[in-house]
């Protein structure tokens, strides 16, 4: 019995916290557009925003993003009509494979939603990708360290000549040198 009361209280608190989210109507966004376009052509993107039970949402502002490797860039916005449909025209091509995203930010009554579209731009001359290794290969490292090792070994050889001089100098007699250098 106690457990049931605790559960009910917790559920109540959870409901209060998430009340807004629970109250928001879930939405569904779909996009249609060409899978390929020629270089220089415009891309017409149609986006349809509905509720989860497929009722169109009119007057909602949708945003078209171009998605890149390091983030997305807003390109344009459009408002849905009575059928929940909005149209975008996109003409900025910087890559051969374009990733577009239409997003609905949501509001107090409706949940946000987004949908993606990939378009291949044909007619672009793309040089074949050359994979450059980001770290030196083992042979390169070996050669580098071999060269460095040769230098330091030469230093060691030169330093050993100092030892040769010291050894040849020998122990001093009476605190002086055997032969005076003037």
């Amino acid at each position: 019995m106690k457990a049931a009361v605790v559960l009910l209280v917790l559920a109540g608190i959870l409901g209060m916290i998430t009340g807004r989210a629970v109250a928001a109507v879930s939405t569904r966004l779909s996009v249609t557009g060409p899978s390929t376009v020629g270089m220089g052509e415009e891309i017409s993107v149609e986006a349809r925003l509905t509720t989860a039970d497929d009722r169109p949402i009119a007057g909602a502002v949708l945003t078209l993003f171009q998605v890149g490797a390091v983030g997305q860039r807003a390109m344009s916005t459009a408002t849905t009509d009575a059928y929940g449909i909005a149209w975008f025209l996109h003409s900025e091509f910087t890559v051969a494979y374009l990733s577009l995203r239409v997003a609905y930010a949501g509001d107090a009554a409706r949940a946000p939603a987004n949908a993606d579209l990939s378009v291949e731009i044909t007619g672009i001359e793309v040089a074949p990708a050359v994979v450059m290794p980001h770290t030196p290969s083992l042979p390169v490292k070996t050669v580098l360290f071999l060269l460095l090792g040769i230098v330091w070994l030469t230093y060691a050889f030169a330093a050993s000549s100092i030892l040769g001089i010291v050894r040849e100098g020998g122990p001093r007699r009476g605190g002086g040198t055997a032969r005076v250098v003037r």
Binding site: H134, T135, P136, K141, L144, L148, V151, W152, T154, Y155, F157, A158, A159, S160, S161, I162, G164, I165, V166, E168, G169, G170, R172, T177, A178, R179, V180, V181, R182
Partner: protein, 514 residues
């Protein structure tokens, strides 16, 4: 009573005198240098305490005059390599009296230049990150490895030829302080001049002379790659490796000539540092001057002709824009004037300049006085940079100053023709200044250049940077001056070995024989 032993080599006294006596001039010099170093230290503490915000560095121009100093000193360090190693390997006998000064320059320039990177970093403890997280593909790591290797090799290469002279001082300078005698005894490494010791010494020196040349070349090539492997206009160039190496040797020769001129004058070393040494080094300076001109023309012509937007923007800024003053001053004082000065003895028409009335001291002095008066008036009235009421544009003053300077230079040429050593020393001083400016226009304009479509970044070094720079130069001079008080500047045993019979012109010159 101890019988007096006659000095077998009286001609070496000018070399040994600075080691035995210290005059007030030296003490004053040290005091002045320490004062400058103290100011630099205070500036650095200020920078450590308050951060890099106290400098002119910013998020766009992160390498200012600190990295300019770094590249400059690394370049100067090539003096030792060229003069000593290359001339030793090629058997140029005339190099003997100047090798030690050159080798010392290498060591001290590296000691002063390398820490400039730490100063630029702002937080010096982050140098540990290079060792903890360093990536082998980073030119920064190559730089740390090559400079460490070069400094170690240079110290060894400086020490090896010092050994016989240390023994000489150990046995000859008995009246110097005890710490000095102990130092000479320790550094002499038991040298007695036996054939086996000579053989060991020659072996070591020869090995170092050969290996230090590629190491030195690699050091400045790697420094150049830090720039060349960055995709920035003005840096991304395939010729930067040899361009930097030639520039380094060029400024290194200038540094050694400057040092030779100073020590010959201060310590009266005319018997060792003869006109022949200055003449030969002058020819080397001219050769590398012409090579550097060739590389400079090649570099700018190529990028300007390609007409990439960023490249042309940079070239325009250098030739006509914000950096044009530094660029043209660098070209004139760093390349053109030194070439003229080193060629003076071969330019017969220079004597005709004596006959030009306008080039006499009085008209030149009057011209300078008038110009100075106009410039001061403009400055006092605060119109030096605007074309206002006085009707004299500041450009007119600058052009007049340039014309007057050129006239003064022309008037000086016949005098310098009679003093070829002074002419070459003056050329080397100008090269030093010009090459520092050259490093500045390599480092700063390319960083200030807008990468994205935006405005140029600004960079104005603050007192902190200037104080640290002055402190660095003072440290270099102090280290060199102290070295000259402890060690002989001339490699005496090598000079004796060569039995150089060349008598130097002038009363001070003495024949040096073994």
């Amino acid at each position: 009573m101890t019988p007096t032993v006659p000095d077998p080599h009286p001609e070496e006294r000018p070399v040994l005198r600075p080691l035995q006596r210290t005059g007030w001039g030296f003490r004053l010099l040290v005091a002045a240098l320490l004062a400058v170093i103290a100011a630099g230290a205070y500036a650095y503490v200020t920078q450590l305490r308050l951060g890099l915000g106290v400098t002119g560095l910013n998020n766009r121009v992160t390498w200012g005059i600190y990295i300019t100093n770094f590249v400059f000193f690394i370049g100067v360090s090539h003096a030792g390599t060229l003069i000593s190693a290359i001339l030793r390997v090629t058997g140029a006998e005339w190099r003997r009296p100047i090798t030690r000064m050159a080798e010392a320059i290498t060591v001290f320039a590296l000691m002063v230049g390398a820490p400039m990177v730490l100063i630029d970093m702002g937080r010096p403890e982050r140098i540990l990150s290079v060792f903890r997280y360093g990536r082998l593909q980073s030119p920064i790591l190559w730089d740390v490895i090559s400079i460490t290797t070069y400094l170690t090799g240079s110290l060894l290469y400086l020490y090896l030829p010092l050994i016989p002279d240390m023994a000489l001082l150990r046995d000859r300078l008995t009246e110097v302080p005890r710490w000095k005698r102990a130092l000479y005894r320790a550094l002499a490494a038991g040298w007695r001049g036996t054939p086996r010791q000579h053989a060991a010494l020659e072996r070591g020196i020869s090995a170092m002379a050969i290996v230090i040349i590629p190491v030195a070349i690699s050091v400045h090539t790697v420094v150049s790659w830090i720039f060349g492997m960055t995709l920035r206009a003005g840096w991304h160039s395939t010729i930067f490796g040899p361009y930097f190496v030639i520039g380094a040797i060029f400024s290194g020769i200038a540094a050694i000539i400057t040092a030779m001129g100073a020590f010959r004058w201060v310590y009266g070393l005319g018997g060792f540092l003869t006109d022949r040494h200055f003449r030969n080094l002058g020819y080397l300076l001219l050769t590398f001057n012409l090579l550097y001109m060739y590389f400079t023309i090649s570099e700018y012509l190529t990028i300007a002709y390609g007409a990439e937007v960023k490249d042309t923007t940079l070239v325009h800024a250098l030739f006509y824009g914000a950096f044009s003053h530094v660029f043209w001053v660098m070209l004139i004082i760093g390349l053109v004037l030194p070439a003229v000065l080193t060629l003076i003895p071969h330019l017969a028409p220079i004597d005709l300049l004596r006959r030009v009335p306008a080039l006499r001291p009085i008209p030149l002095g009057v011209g300078a006085a008038i110009l100075g008066g106009v410039g001061a008036t403009l400055h006092v009235r605060g119109v030096a940079y605007v074309n206002t009421t006085l009707g004299v544009h500041h450009d007119v003053v600058l052009v007049a100053a340039g014309v007057l300077g050129a006239a003064a230079f022309l008037a000086l040429l016949p005098v310098l023709k009679q003093r070829p050593v002074a002419s070459i020393v003056l050329a080397s001083l100008l090269v030093n200044a010009g090459m520092w400016l050259k490093r500045y226009i390599i480092v700063v304009p390319s960083m200030a250049l807008p990468i994205t479509p935006t405005e140029w970044a600004t960079y104005q070094p603050t007192w902190v940077e200037w104080s640290i720079t002055a402190g660095a130069f003072a440290t270099f001079i102090l280290l060199y001056a102290l070295f000259a008080k402890i060690f002989p500047l001339i490699s005496l045993w090598e000079v004796r070995e060569a039995k150089v019979p060349e008598p130097a012109p002038g009363a001070r010159a003495q024949e040096v024989v073994a």
